[in-house]
Structures are given as C-alpha cells and as structure tokens.
Symmetry: C2
Subunit: 458 residues, 2 copies
C-alpha cells in the first residue's frame, strides 16, 4: 500500500491536534439534559469534519434521543464495505476538583492529550475520520467502501441504537463492523478483542410478615426473610466456585486448548493484581485462572443486598423484607432470557418455607464472540504489525458492550474491536487522557487495515 | 386477710386516678436529654407519693444517669421482705400525630386511661404504691416488709442499675423481687412469667478488595464479600430450622413434659397469628410449636444485612464490603459470652476463601428462668385467684429484660413477674393505655400477694 498517507498525517499533525482539541472542548455529556445543545453542536461539528475529510452523504439522523451522524464513501474498486461505529457523547466529569486541567479544555502534556472523551471515544472517532481524510487527500480514493455511524447515547446505554440499526439495515449494510472503543493490553502491546461477555440482571425480593416484628416476641417462630434470602444467595454457587444453577453451563462454548495457551502466553500477572486489589488470594471457578474466569467463563454476582437494620449498634428486629440485586456475565452461546428462566426456577426451588419471593428481570445483553481466526481479524492483525511492529494479542473482555452483539446480529456481519486506548487512561474517571503515540500509530493501523481488508477473499 | 383495704381502694378510686393523671402528665422520657428536668420532677413526685403512702426512708439516690427512688417499710411481724422494682421513665412519643389525645394529657375513656406510661410502667408502679397505702391506712401495717426501687433509665437499657444494685446489696436485700412490667395473657387471663430469653448480638463485617470493582472486569475472578456473607449467614441454620452452630444447644434446659402440656393448655391460636402477620405458614425449629419456639428455645436471627448497590435498577458492581447484624435469643442455662465464642468460631470456620471477616460483640444479657413451682410463685397464683377469680397462666416470654436476671443474680433472690398490662395496650407506641379493670384487680392482687407471701415457709 502506498505510504504517502503517512507523510500527510505527519505534516498535518498539529492542525489535526488543534481540530481534536476543538472536538473535545464541546461538553457532550449525554447523561445530563443540560447538555442537550452541546450534543447538537457536537453532531454538527462532526458533519463538518466528515465533509472536510471527503466523506459523502453526511447527515444528522434524529432518533427518539440524541441524533446519529452518518456518512459514507462508496467508490472503492472492490465491493468490500466497512462500517465504522463510534460515539461522540462522553461521561459526566464529577468529581471536577480531581481534574488537573479542566475536562473540556484539552491539554497536551507528556505526550498525552488530557480531556473528557480523549480516549472514550471522541479521540478514536476523530482518528477514523483523519485516516479516511489522509487516504482521500493523498490517493483520491479508499481501498474499501466505508460508512460511519456515530451515535450520541453510548454512555447512557444506547437506548435508541438497535431500533435505528433495525430501521436502517440497508443504509448500514456492510461486510465488517469496526469499533475503536476497547483497550490495548498495555503500552506497545495492541490487542484485538474477539469476545465480550453478555449480561442479565435480576432483583430478588423476599417478603415475610406484613411488618417488621420484635425478634424477642416472634424470633424463632416465624421465617426471617433475611435468612431466606441468604439461603437463596448461598445456593447460587457450589463449594468449587461454580454456579450451581441447573443448566447454567449447558450452552457455554468451552475454551479451546489454543485459546487457553494464548491466554497463558499473555503472562498475566496475578500476583500484581492481588497486590493492587489488596487481597490475599484470588477466587473463582475451580480449574480456571483469572483471565479465563473473567474473559471466557460466565458468572453470577450479587451486586447488592439489603434488609433490616443498617444503623449503628443493634436493633432486635425481625424484618419483613429482604432484597438482592444480582447479575450474570454470560459467554457465548448463553441466552440472557434463558438464563433468567433458569435463575427463576432455581430461586423458587431454593426458597425456604414461610416467605414469598418475587423476581424482576432487569438489564440484559447477549454475549459476543467472534472466531478469532476470521479473515477480518487476521487482516487487522497484519495492519497492527505494520503500524506497531508487534503482533496484537487476541483478547476477550469480561465486560459487556451490548451494542456489539446487537449490530453483529442485526446486520449479520463480523466485528473487529480495534481499540487504541490504554488501560490506565482514566476513561469514566477524572484526568481522562489519550497517548498521542497511539493516536499516531492508530491512524496508521486504520489506513493499513483498509488496505488489508481490500485484499481478503470474500 | 382482712378485706378492708378493698373498701379503701374503692372509696378513694377517683382521688387515686387523679393522682395517677398527675404522675402520667410529667413527660419523663429518658431517651431525650431535653427531658432531664422532667425526670427530676418525676422522681420528686414519687418521693411525695411514697411518703404519703406511709413508706419510710424515702430518698432519691443519684447515679451516673437518672436517679433511683428508694423507699421501704420494715415493720412486718415476720421477716419476709419483698423488693418491688419498677421504672418511672417512659418511651418517646413519636409519631405524635397518631395519638388520639396528647400523650401527656391523660384521658380516661371506655374504661381505659390513655397516656404515655399508663401501662409501661408508671401505671403499675403507682398501683404498688397505692396497694401499700391501702393496707397501711386500713391496717396500720403490712403483712411483709417492702422495699421500693424505682429507676429512671429502663427505656434506655438501665445502664446504671446493675452497678447500683451491686453497690447497695444490703439496702436492697430481700426474699423476693416483684416486678409488674410484663403482660397478661389476655383480658381476664392473668399470667405469671417465669422465664425470659437472654440476648447476645454481634456484627459481622466482610471485606474483599480495597474498593468496589467493575463486575465485568473482575466478576468471577475475585471473591465477592456479599457471596461470602450469604454463605456465612446461610450456614447458621440447618434444613430443619435448628441453629447449626456447634455446641449452641449444649446448655439449653430442655422443656419438661409438664411445661409443654401447660403451654398446649393455653390453646395458643397459631391460625389467628398467621392471619395477623399475613403469612401462609409459621416457621422455626422442627419439633416445636410457636409458643415453645419463642418462649423456650434459643434462636439466631439476622437483624440486618447490607452491602453493595441498593438504589433503583442495577449497578454491575462487585462490592468491597458486606455487613450483617445478628442476635441470638438465649434460654437457661446458655451464657451470652460463650455463645458469642461459638459464633465466632463458626463464622471463621465457614468463611470462604478470598475475604477477611471480623466480628464485633454487641449487647448481651443472660436468660432468666425461675422454677415455676417455687413458693413465691405459688403464693402469687393464689393471690391472682382471689383477685381475678381465675388461675393465672404460667408463661415465659420471648423477649429479654436483662435487669431481671441481673437483680436475681446479684441479690440471689427469686423473681415474680406479676404484670397487669394487656398485649394490645400499645406500650412503646402511640395511644398507650391501661385497662382500669386491671388497675383495680391488680391492686387487689398485690395486697393479697403480701398476705400470701407472709404465709409461706422460708
């Protein structure tokens, strides 16, 4: 591939950084309605940037929430089309006093740009625009067709994205979805994430008598909802840290030998993690190490539980209610609704006498997993090697990004999670920043990726 | 026994009731420091009432908290001495808006006197004073020696009573302690309580990582303190509702055949209880019914538990801490400190890996149990029969009144719990009241008791 785009990026670096500062200085906080007009301004800013880069059909499409910005360039010589997803909204900035420089006054120091959204995700959206611009300005064309879909509600759970994708399937049709919103392994070690855990959450409410009772007068003679809840919660796991819900693991894709070896090759430092978290030992499902447990095995966690007296000292009350919030992280091919069914059955089976239990289904998202030897991922690996001179790690993530699976399912396309942020860059926290080293190498990776992608056999 | 005291009580009923109103109108709330001067006024009021009744050595004895009022009459022909314990302090009155008439403006309606303290315990203290007065005014003497010890901190846990008793053992020396602060079984059915459960409370704190973690990134790979706590709490009981702590029942005095039959003879209505509490079934230790479970068997209850997210919806957090407050009700001859030792050992044994657990000992009080065939109780039964024309039930109570055991142990004397309140009289709640029927019959019972007591063989 012609490397003149590199010269373009080098020559225009200062101009690009000052454009990026402009982009980052608009406080596009989606969680706070006071920033509605900033959201609008950011979408408009993107329209200009996309048009200036040479993209076409640039438009702001309204949704029931914040608008989505669309653009494309569809004149490639082959018929491979990449869809780039990103988001222009950012997290709130509290606590403001912990920021060394104001979150919306981008500051470059020590080779990093500090601002809310620097890494998550405005910085990385900007890189995709500039990569396209560099190719178009130097070659006059791109090796593949590209489409941009940049939303403004990712930080509030993307409530309007799936309906949007469903409605605009034709417009968004592509051969691969590229998202730059996941972390690298560490400095100098890029990573391609091929799996995300899904999620399903539930609330468990246990009810005993119709009011709190005196534990002296009634204690021992009537069921205590806190006991009942403890029994239910304790029944979720067996002694080996496995989830004890019947059928829970039935659809879990086992880790392959190859994957386990690849995870081991990452030489994850469990000792350092213990130190960082201040624990004497790690704990989880028997037979798996930390990376396997958090990347590739499903879990059930209690996120909260409460009932009865929480003040200082003691109150000899026999409470009438007890509550817990639980959530499962799921892996392919577990189905959130099926797992919720299994949990419901388990809870009813393990509810001791004398109390009523009710369950409420809350958030859910399917797990996502790509075959890591898929051609679009192999192409990405080659692109990374050219930019970073290093083989990217093939990783999974323990967290959930439900839109990834939604996009993939609705458009029936593979996904490449090609993120350039570093783990310590404080996304969602004060002093968010982005390493400019990855700003530079990331744009090269993207340009090379379009080249590699144009070579793969469909 | 000469019955002229009855005429005296009848003739002076109105005067006594208006004195009682005066006593009840002083807001002697011990929990609120704003009422310090009311406490003092109440003690002074008692001094006058005791002197007017013909008692001697009447004095206010200061403690580190509220003062204790003492009085005696020691001229009986035999050498039997009864010590009467009561308290002149009352509970707070919130929520005030639920009172039909103001709590400190006593109102008589439907044969009941409404006021804070009417039944708990000013009304019953007053009855003891007037019973003595009736006998002294009509006979010029009492059948036994009596001592009064009336404290002002019962509603805040009597923190200064045991030190006081310890210090004044000689002054308080007696053959029997009489307390009128427990309920009758129901209207027309008096009861003598011969057993009270003890208490020991603990807090359990479970600590995992040094901060809350993202359940996606760490979930499944590090111990969750909420899980650990649930397991600990669930381990406290076996499947049959028995406490599963090793050694817990070792010192429990078994119920005798006779007692179980006596409990059954009370024909306690478990169906009515279920309806009242809104539960489908009662629950507790296998092999025992509700009265046995709550009166005569020890328990372990979770009074509160909390950790993690408690708000609306879900937060996928892996919390760093979990907490529970537990308390045991104990029966003779369990020792609170020993039980706390056993709990501590059990908790450490059942703490799963990956978390730190710490225990804090809180309130404790020993159980109390009298042999129900003790002469001082048999004498009380005869007195009740004369006043109520009904055999009093021999009952136990599930609650704890730690001072009962303390008095009994320190002075080495039997205790007769001779209460005249009814279960529905709202002690500790708005619209506290006292049935005047039991005001009248109670004073007769007391007078007859002094007569019966003078007959028993030492």
């Amino acid at each position: 591939m012609n490397q003149s785009y590199r010269t373009y990026l080098e020559k225009n670096r200062d101009a690009h950084l000052s454009e990026l500062r402009e982009f980052l200085s608009i406080p596009s906080i989606s969680a706070l309605s006071a920033h509605k007009s900033d959201i609008k301004r950011t979408a408009e800013w993107l329209v200009n940037a996309l048009q200036a880069a040479g993209l076409e059909n640039v438009q702001i499409i309204s949704t029931e929430g914040n608008p989505i910005v669309y653009a494309d360039w569809m004149h490639a010589e082959n018929d491979v089309t990449a869809l780039i997803y990103g988001h222009y909204d950012v997290q709130p900035v509290d606590p403001l006093e912990l920021w060394q420089t104001p979150p919306f006054e981008p500051d470059i120091r020590d080779g990093k740009i500090y601002a809310r959204g620097a890494t998550d995700d405005k910085g990385q959206v900007f890189m995709h625009i500039k990569a396209v611009e560099a190719l178009l300005k130097t070659e006059g064309k791109l090796p593949v067709n590209v489409k941009f879909c940049i939303e403004g509600e990712e930080e509030v759970g993307s409530p309007n994205l799936e309906p949007f994708v469903e409605k605009h399937k034709d417009m968004l049709a592509a051969d691969v979805l590229v998202i730059s919103d996941t972390p690298m392994l560490e400095k100098g070690k890029p990573a391609i994430c091929y799996g995300l855990r899904g999620l399903c959450a539930m609330q468990i409410d246990v009810k005993g008598a119709n009011g709190d009772l005196h534990s002296g007068i009634y204690g021992g003679g009537i069921a205590n909802p806190l006991h009942a809840l403890s029994e239910i919660l304790a029944s979720f796991h067996d002694k080996n840290g496995k989830v004890a819900i019947e059928g829970f693991y039935d659809k879990v894709k086992p880790l392959t030998k190859e994957e386990r070896q690849a995870f081991r090759d990452l030489k994850y430092d469990e000792e350092a993690l213990k130190k960082e978290l201040g624990v004497n030992e790690l704990y989880g499902e028997e037979g798996f190490n930390f990376l396997e447990r958090t990347w590739a095995r499903p879990t059930l966690e209690i996120n909260g539980m409460y009932g009865g007296f929480q003040g200082e000292g003691i109150k000899t009350v026999l409470p009438s209610e007890a509550h817990a919030k639980i959530s499962c992280r799921l892996v392919a091919d577990q189905d959130p609704a099926e797992i919720q069914d299994l949990i419901e059955r388990h809870v009813h089976k393990h509810t001791p006498p004398g109390v009523q239990v009710s369950l409420t289904r809350m958030d859910s998202g399917r797990p996502f997993q790509m075959p890591y030897n898929h051609p679009v991922i192999q192409a990405a690996m080659r692109a990374y090697e050219k930019a970073y001179n290093a083989t990217p790690a093939l990783t999974r993530m323990g967290g959930s990004i439900p839109i990834v699976e939604g996009f993939s399912r609705l458009l029936n396309i593979p996904v490449v999670l090609m993120g350039f942020g570093l783990p310590g860059e404080n996304f969602h926290a004060p002093n968010e920043h982005f390493h400019l080293e990855n700003f530079d190498k990331g744009m090269i990776t993207i340009c090379e990726y379009w080249g590699e992608l144009s070579q793969i056999k469909q």
